[in-house]
Symmetry: C2
Subunit: 311 residues, 2 copies
C-alpha cells in the first residue's frame, strides 16, 4: 500500500501543535493538546503517541498508509533523534525518536523546532521551490535555521543556525541572554529594535511621532511608513546590522533565499527593503543573487517542517 | 566482488594530482599529470580518464573492485557534478561527473576543491574522527570548507564556505579581489598579515625586529616567537579578526573542530592560540566546546577528500 499520510508535531512549552498531512503537503487537519511538563515532562511523549493513534483510528487509516511522525522540540536534537535535554519541556535526556517508534509502531524523525520551522518554510512557505534556505525568526529573540540541499544543518552541538548570537557590535551597554555582548539578537529582535529606538530618542530631542507614545518594533515601523525621519534612522541601523550579518551567513551557507519570519516581519516588505540594502553592499559576489522573502506559514511552520522530515 | 579501491583526483590550474587509495583511506600511490588548459581545457578530462584507466591496467585491478573516482576542481560544482565554469581550467559549462562516467565506466563524484580538501582533513587529517568541521585555509587568500554530518555544505551558488569574504572591518584602505571592502581575507591571509604588519610599522617608530627586513606572515610569526612586542600586536589583531569571524561561522555551522591550514599555518600552534583567545570571547555558549587543530595533509588534502566523496 502506498504511503499517503504523514503527521507533523510541534512540541512547545505550553501546547503541542499537531497536523495530519497528505504526503504532497496538504494540511488535512490541525489540532492542539496541552504540554504536560510535570514529572520532568514524562507524559509528553505518551500524550503525543496517544493523540496520533486516536487520530489514525478516528480517520480509519491503515498504518501502512502513514509515512511516519515528524516531531520538532525546543532544544538540541542529534541525528539519531535523541534530545540531551530541553529546558522548556523539563526534559533531561530523552530518546525521542526511539521511544515514539516503540509507542506507535511508526517511523519517527525529530529535530530542533527552529530548524524544523525552516524546513517547513522551504516546503510550503516563503522558500517554496528552493533547496537551500536560511530562515530568520525576528521575535523576542532572533532564531535561525539553515537548510542546505534539503537537509537541516544541525551542527555538532545543536547550535547550527543560532545566528542571533553572531557578534555584530561593541556598542551596546548590556549583556545578551547568552552571556555575550553585542549579539545580533540584541539589536534586531523585537526587543532589540525597541532598544535601538529608545537609544536614538535619548541621543537628542529631534521631534518624532515615537516620543511620548509606546515604543516597540510595531510602532517604529509604523512611524517609518508614516515618513518619520528619526524612525527611519532606527530602521537603517536595524537594516545595517541584519543585512551585514546575513552577508556573513551567506559566506558560510550560501542560500537561494532568506526567509524572514517572526513578529517583527509583520511590518511586511519594508523590513526586507532595509535588510536588502545592506546585504547587497556586503555580500560576496555570487551570494548577491540570493532573494529575500517573508515567511508565510506563521505558527504552522513547525508542523509542516516536522512532517517534511519524513518525506 | 567487494569494492577495495578508490581514486582521488585534484585538478589544479597547472597540475592534476592523482591518488589511488584503499577504501579504508590508505594512499597506495600518488602521481601527477600536467593540466592542459588549451582549447578551453578540452583535454583535461580525457587526460584524467586516460591516467586512471592506465593505472587500473598497470595494477591489474578489476573494475568491480573500484568504488569510483572523486574529483575536486577550482570552481563551483553542483549536486549533479556539473561545473558552470572554472576560470583557472579555462572551462565553460562542463558535465564533469557525467562525462567522466562515460569515459571510464566508473562511478564519479565531483566537488569544489576547497570543500573537497575539507572533507579530506575530516577523513584523515586534522579533523579525523569528526563529522562536522570547518576548514580554514590561510594562504594568499582565505579559503574555507564546511562539512556538516559528513556532507559538504555547497550552497546554492557554490559559495558555501567562502568565509574569506565575511566583512570584518571598515578600517582597510583598499578593495578585496572580490570587489568588496574589509573582507576577512584582507587581514588574515598571508597577504593580509603583511598588510597589518606594514600598517602597524608605519603608525609610529617603535623598535621591532621587523624593521628593515622582509615583512611577511613568516617573519611576523618568527618575530612573535622571538618576543617582539610590535609583532605580537599584529598577531593580536590577526587573532581578533579571525577568532571573531570564526565565532560567527560557528553560529551558522557549529562544527566540532576548526582545522586551520595553508601556508600561514606553518607557524604552528601559536596561530591557534591567537585565534582561540578571541574565539572563546565571542563564540555562542555551546559552540565554545569546538576545538582547533592544524591541518595535517598539506597538498594531499584534495586527493584524500576527492576519494572520500565516493565512500
Amino acid at each position: 500500500m502506498m504511503e499517503k499520510y504523514v503527521f507533523g508535531i510541534d512540541i512547545g512549552g505550553t501546547t503541542v501543535k499537531c497536523g495530519l498531512f497528505t504526503v504532497k503537503g496538504e494540511l488535512l487537519e490541525k489540532w492542539e493538546i496541552p504540554t504536560r511538563t510535570e514529572n520532568n515532562g514524562a507524559a509528553i511523549l505518551p500524550d503525543v503517541a496517544d493523540t496520533v493513534l486516536k487520530k489514525i483510528q478516528e480517520k480509519g487509516l491503515a498504518k501502512e498508509e502513514i509515512a511516519g511522525i515528524g516531531i520538532g522540540v525546543p532544544g538540541p536534537v542529534n541525528e539519531q533523534g535523541e534530545v540531551p535535554g530541553a529546558v522548556n519541556l523539563h526534559w533531561g535526556y530523552v530518546n525521542l525518536a526511539g521511544d515514539m517508534e516503540k509507542m506507535t509502531g511508526l517511523r519517527v524523525k525529530a529535530g530542533n523546532d527552529a530548524n524544523v520551522a525552516a524546513l517547513g518554510e522551504m516546503w510550503k512557505g516563503g522558500g517554496a521551490g528552493c533547496q537551500s534556505i536560511v530562515m530568520v525568526t525576528l521575535g523576542t529573540g532572533v532564531g535561525g535555521g539553515i537548510i542546505n540541499n534539503g537537509k537541516i544543518v544541525t551542527g555538532a552541538h545543536g547550535a547550527g543556525g543560532e545566528i542571533g548570537h553572531i557578534h555584530v557590535t561593541d556598542d551596546v551597554e548590556c549583556n545578551c541572554n547568552c552571556g555575550n555582548h553585542g549579539c545580533l539578537e540584541q539589536v534586531t529582535s523585537a526587543t532589540g529594535i525597541t532598544y535601538l529606538a529608545n537609544r536614538r530618542l535619548k541621543k537628542d530631542d529631534r521631534p518624532s511621532m515615537l516620543r511620548g507614545g509606546e515604543v516597540n518594533a510595531k510602532t517604529v515601523f509604523d512611524a517609518v511608513k508614516a515618513g518619520d525621519e528619526l524612525a527611519k534612522e532606527v530602521a537603517e541601523e536595524f537594516g545595517k546590522y541584519l543585512g551585514t550579518a546575513l552577508a556573513s551567513v551567506a559566506c558560510v551557507a550560501d542560500p537561494e533565499v532568506f526567509v524572514i519570519g517572526g513578529g517583527v516581519s509583520k511590518a511586511g516588505q519594508i523590513i526586507l527593503d532595509y535588510i536588502k540594502k545592506y546585504y547587497a553592499q556586503y555580500a560576496f559576489m555570487t551570494c548577491k543573487q540570493a532573494s529575500f522573502a517573508l515567511a508565510k506559514l506563521g505558527n504552522d511552520a513547525g508542523i509542516y517542517g516536522a512532517a517534511k522530515m519524513l518525506l
